[in-house]
């Protein structure tokens, strides 16, 4: 299944939840947020939300800034 992650093509071998994708990418969930097709997916839904073909997944993190 093809999706994009932060605009780059990404291949998922099997059905995957957002939480599984976070783990696979080695991302620290602390301070992390995700938008799927430009809609924010709340962290509490990550374990159950299954990604669909062509989903555009974008991960954001908090950084320093004024």
């Amino acid at each position: 299944m093809h999706i994009t992650v932060n605009d780059d093509p990404f291949q998922l071998e099997a059905v995957s939840t957002v939480e599984q994708l976070v783990t696979r990418l080695g991302l620290d969930p602390n301070g992390l947020a995700v938008a799927i097709n430009n809609n924010v997916l709340a962290k509490r839904l990550w374990p159950e939300h299954r990604l669909a073909p062509a989903d555009a997944v974008q991960f954001f993190q908090l950084v320093t800034g004024g």
Partner: protein, 255 residues
Amino acid sequence: MLTIADKTFHSRLLLGSGKFASAALMQQAIVASETQLITLALKRVQLGKPQDDLLTPLRQLNIQLLPNTSGAKTAKEAILAAELARDALDTNWLKLEIHPDPRYLMPDPLETLLAAEQLVQRGFVVLPYCGADPVLCKRLEQAGCAAVMPLAAPIGSNLGLQTEAMLRIIIEQAGVPVIIDAGLGYPSHACAAMELGAAAVLINTAIATNHSPVSMANAFKLAVQAGRSAYEAGLSVQHLTAKASSPLTKFLASL
């Protein structure tokens, strides 16, 4: 005490977390400043690169974290950034900033007001960065913003209170805290802002890019305290002629 929405703060100095040379220096400056509110930004994760753990040390300092929407060019983008920040940080506090122009980083008043109205409806505690426009500040207050953050000068310019006349009107009319943001470069600028009656100031560049950020953080802390004390005491009346401080006796004339 400074009250914003349902929270009170003994410090009237807000700090921006950008541009520090290292995380350790930022932490030391935060401690020296005695700030209780610090801003953060949001950006897309760069996959394959290690993520900096910014939050753990900040949470240990027990200060209110204030995510911003920097990078947003429209109300729509700012609302998405706000929702992301709320989920990432588990806070509904937000510094709303929308500045599409990269040269002067002037906040877009129309998009800012539009976004503020919608974010308040969505349950955010909105602190909007805005121009020093008394009408706009009143409209943002009426939209339900918890404070207004008019600029003193362009972001990072260190030019000081370029908008002083308008800031005086904003402060006089405000029913919410006025936090003067952007452009304050010297502790004397912050002191003057507090003497005007600002509820607080936000400093980033002037501290973070100084060669001694910890000393400068302390200097800004003292300046903010001095300015606030002066405001509470009431500033003395200015005169165009001298008013003698010593008794004017005639003994000198008799020599």
